[in-house]
């Protein structure tokens, strides 16, 4: 098997979506709380140092606008100021004095695309052995590893996702070889020297979990647990049971003080999940396995934000809707492995039609450049079976729903006043194969312009190489 896709599929990741309801954890009332809280560990020891780049007051006028939340405005106006969307409306929207005008007649304006499932940086290009940093694979339970500590900011893939894909925010996940693959990181697609300088300020962490074939294959082949799907669940449950206990000890300590419990870096992550602060992004293909994972989340009191690679989501779209879980899907991948055998091109449309939260994801450094095309393919597959999903609603699969799954929909994912000015100007209808991004703003800064070769990022790796600075 020589497909590069195998890398990610075989050792892939997991995603989650939808609003998460933090479970109720009644504190044990014991001794009176101390006057000052006991010293505890940092929840953010590798903080974001991202700062938005300067932008100018900008008025994009005359285009067809998808607001990302299902709205469509013809001859629309979008005003960007101080890194934020200042206004959005029709042709009568007032243009502030001094604004740089961008004529978008015949063009489309959308929120930037958010890919909820990428391995840019942790499986970067070139895909050499020394760069295989997305799967720990030294044990099936690794909530202690953080994808951000593997991310190579110089991955040339980031620039392709920006220029060809219109992608402004990315969740980078660990792979799916382990049951608990580690923490994900959400980044702004802005080139930087450090991953800290890319981290989306204030974005919640995710925890990658994996169902199915990958963990049991990796460890079963070593005669280790898990060697079966039931082994997957058993080891998951043992781990969550320990996490509940860990959380209880730390909750008690942080309330009443005394001797702090022994730190466990992996358990810190699981405690964060049980508190509702870290979002479960769950690699899971098969319908029956998703149902098992939902029950497990209820058993231990956490919420699954999204199932990633949910090729059988269409079989249980009602369950996903009832449990407020998003599904991150490809438009048409199938058959590369047994658990993908039942993939169908109507999956995304059927999930949408059932009223559940649908998202298009890539898991692939090539696919991330064409997510908008994949959305269009999924829309067309739905239309052929009588499910007509309007273009601006389709765009929710690409921006607002992923933002919800990542817990950042209050800041990005749609063009609403006060939200981050993460905006793409397309040179045509972005659901057409003949369309490409013309300009991309992130936090109001123009970071890609097809009309200006100087506004095209080139990673360190590509300097002095054949094709440096070329169109890609």
């Amino acid at each position: 098997m020589s497909n590069r896709a195998w890398l990610f599929l075989a050792l892939g990741a997991l995603v989650g979506c939808a609003a998460s309801a933090p479970p109720d954890h009644p504190a044990t009332a014991a001794a009176a709380p101390p006057a000052t809280p006991p010293p505890t560990y940092s929840r953010d020891p590798y903080p974001s140092t991202y700062r938005r780049y300067p932008g100018v007051l900008t008025a994009i006028t005359g285009g067809t606008v998808f607001d990302g939340e299902g709205g469509r405005i013809e001859n629309g106006t979008v005003i960007l100021a101080d890194g934020l969307v200042q206004a959005i409306g029709g042709p009568d929207t007032p243009i502030p004095a001094g604004a740089t005008r961008i004529d978008a007649h015949g063009k489309w304006v959308t929120p930037g695309i958010i890919d909820v499932h990428s391995h840019l940086g942790d499986y970067p290009s070139p895909a050499v052995e020394a760069h295989q940093d997305g799967n720990e694979l030294t044990g099936p339970v690794h909530p202690d590893v953080w994808a951000e500590h593997s991310v190579w900011p110089q991955d040339p893939g980031f620039s392709r996702a920006l220029a060809n894909g219109g992608v402004t925010t990315i969740e980078i996940l660990p792979g799916s070889g382990d049951l608990f693959g580690g923490r994900s990181v959400t980044i702004k697609n802005v080139p930087a020297r450090t991953v800290q300088a890319m981290k989306f300020p204030g974005a919640p962490y995710g925890l990658k979990m994996a169902c199915g074939e990958n963990p049991k294959r990796v460890y079963g082949s070593r005669n280790q647990m898990p060697g079966s799907r039931m082994g997957n669940i058993a080891l998951d449950r043992e781990t969550w049971a320990r996490a509940v206990e860990y959380k209880r000890r730390w909750d008690h300590y942080e309330k009443v003080g005394g001797e702090p419990p022994t730190r466990d870096i992996g358990m810190d992550t699981l405690r964060g999940v049980l508190e509702g602060q870290i979002r479960i992004q769950n690699h899971c293909y098969r319908a029956d396995e998703m149902a098992n994972m939902i029950d497990m989340s209820k058993e231990f009191g956490y919420h699954i934000a999204a199932f990633h690679h949910a090729v059988e989501a269409y079989k249980i779209a009602d369950l996903l809707r009832e449990n407020h879980i998003c599904a991150a899907m490809w438009s048409d991948w199938y058959g590369f492995k047994m658990e993908a055998y039942d993939g169908i091109p109507e999956n995304i449309a059927l999930v949408q039609n059932a009223g559940a939260c649908a998202m298009v994801h890539s898991d692939d450094p090539n696919g991330i450049q064409r997510l908008y095309q994949e959305a269009a393919k999924a829309q067309a597959a739905g239309r052929r079976i009588g499910i007509d999903i309007p273009d601006p609603v389709v765009w929710e699969w690409l921006s607002f729903n992923p933002a919800k799954a990542l817990g950042i929909s209050d800041r990005t994912g749609s063009l609403k006043p006060g939200k981050m000015a993460d905006v793409v100007l397309w040179n045509g209808n972005p659901l057409s194969v003949y369309t490409r991004p013309e300009k991309v703003w992130i936090d109001g800064a123009l970071l890609y312009d097809a009309m200006n070769p100087k506004l095209r990022p080139v990673s360190d790796f590509e300097l002095g190489q054949p094709g440096e600075g070329d169109v890609k």
């Binding site: 195998w6 895909a127 074939e213 991948w333 590369f336 169908i344 659901l431």
Partner: protein, 459 residues
């Protein structure tokens, strides 16, 4: 949209007239609004504007639709695997086999594999199917197949030999490109030696005739049964690396009777391969991949060697692809290279139906400053007639020119646009079913509403 149904089973003798659609011939020309396509006896009779409809022809009204030749998947492995990761269903490569060049995929094609049906429903009617290299730089012999719903998938068996001469070839050769070239030379030397030692009976005229006869060494027939090179009286020296079968399989490559598809990406590797013809003047080379082809496009064009490129490779995925750009295909074509699209290492056993999307993206590049793309007609050509021509089959498949096999697709819209799909597929003039595992799953789960019986009873 319901599929178009021809009344009755279109027998070979039937004449079919597809009228009113936007017709694209697949030869690089622009689409023709209101065109007509005439099919008879499984072949194209005429296509284009002002084509008269013969009396008695069965008519298909394609008004508002698009009509094209079926897609020819330029580098594919469809039919060689059902589920890639399930070894028992996967015949793409054979790591533990003692054989390499002698491997013949025609034996392994399963016309009932779901990827055949799925890609047929995606408008792919033919595929150039190659094995993958495993224990040698030589992967074996590929075939041209059709994706029809019958048990005769082979259009041309042993159409080409496939060899890896870039990074993969280096690895297969023990770790270096230099070693791969020594292996290549040694293999062709062993093939040549075999021909020198094989006696061909009869007068000189007959020997000459046989040397020019495709059938002489069994390219068309079962190769190992009648091949004189495998005869009991052919002795070989002790210092050989190849099995006799592998050496015999390379004889037609050496003699230029079988195409040699060579996978290379790096510019220097491309030039090395072009240079092989100095030593082996009969090689009928076709390059596969060629991510850096645009940087040496004039050399490729001058050599007259066709390229089956990966359309959208734009990442430095390896050190042999540093100059990757989506403009590669457009730039090579502009330099005069004969370019088509293939999908090496890109879900080529499953997703060749997405070649049309790739072609559409090449059209998109024409609207991007600094980029080089293709016109719509050229883009369609790269997934229809161009791959067929690359392996010498342009007279048979890949276009709607008169005389070609009637592989015709009627689409519900612009075939290069996202999400358009076939509503009628003809292969050799025979209407094909468009249902498969996926369409049945779709129908079963179209509604999740509670019913009187479980889903398992819905079919």
């Amino acid at each position: 949209m319901a599929a178009l149904m021809l009344t009755g089973a279109p027998a070979l003798a039937q004449t079919i007239a597809i009228t009113g659609g936007t017709v694209a011939l697949g030869d690089g020309s622009d689409p023709i609004p209101g065109g007509t396509v005439i099919v008879r006896d499984g072949r194209i009779v005429a296509a284009g504007r002002d084509v008269a409809v013969p009396a008695g022809a069965q008519r298909v009204d394609a008004t508002g639709k698009w009509v094209t030749p079926g897609i020819v998947a330029g580098f594919a492995r469809v039919g060689l695997a059902e589920v890639e990761a399930v070894d028992g269903s996967n015949d793409i490569s054979a790591r533990a086999s003692p054989f390499s060049a002698a491997i013949d995929v025609a034996r392994a094609i399963n016309p009932r594999a779901q990827p055949i049906a799925v890609n047929r429903a995606g408008g792919v009617t033919r595929a150039i199917v190659a094995p993958a290299a495993a224990r040698s730089i030589f992967a074996g012999q590929g075939a041209v197949i059709d994706l029809g719903a019958d048990m005769n998938p082979i259009t041309r068996a042993r159409a080409f030999q496939f060899v890896e001469l870039g990074e993969t070839g280096a690895a297969d050769a023990g770790g270096s490109r230099a070693s791969a070239y020594v292996l290549f030379h040694d293999a062709l030397r062993e093939a040549r030696d075999l021909t020198l030692r094989a006696p061909i009976a009869g007068p000189a005229s007959r020997r000459r005739a046989r040397a020019n006869d495709q059938r002489a060494y069994g390219l068309e027939d079962e190769p190992n049964a009648s091949n004189p090179l495998l005869g009991a009286n052919v002795s070989r020296p002790q210092d050989v690396l190849l099995t006799r079968f592998d050496a015999a399989a390379l004889v037609p490559v050496l003699q230029g009777r079988q195409y040699l598809l060579v996978h290379v990406e790096r510019a220097s590797d491309i030039l090395q391969v072009l240079g092989l013809r100095k030593e082996f003047p009969n090689l009928r080379l076709v390059l596969v991949g060629c991510a850096e082809g645009w940087t040496v496009a004039s050399d490729i064009a001058a050599a007259g060697v066709p390229v089956i490129a990966s359309a959208l490779t734009d990442l430095p995925n390896s050190f042999e692809q540093l100059a990757s750009t989506e403009s590669n295909v457009g730039r090579m074509r502009a330099a005069g290279v004969h370019v088509s699209i293939g999908m090496i290492d890109d879900m080529e056993s499953l997703q060749v139906r997405n070649e049309k999307q790739y072609a559409g993206n090449l059209v998109a590049l024409t609207r991007l400053p600094g980029a080089t793309g293709l016109t719509w007609g050229q883009a369609l050509e790269t997934i229809t007639s161009a791959p067929a021509e690359a392996i010498g089959m342009g007279g048979e498949i890949g276009s709607l020119k008169p005389g070609r096999r009637a592989d015709v697709v009627v689409w519900d819209g612009d075939p290069l646009e996202n999400g358009t799909a076939p509503i009628l597929v003809l292969i050799d003039g025979v209407q094909q079913p468009l249902t498969n595992h996926q369409t049945e799953l779709r129908d079963r789960y179209r509604s999740l509403a509670p019913a009187d019986l479980p889903q398992a009873y819905r079919r």
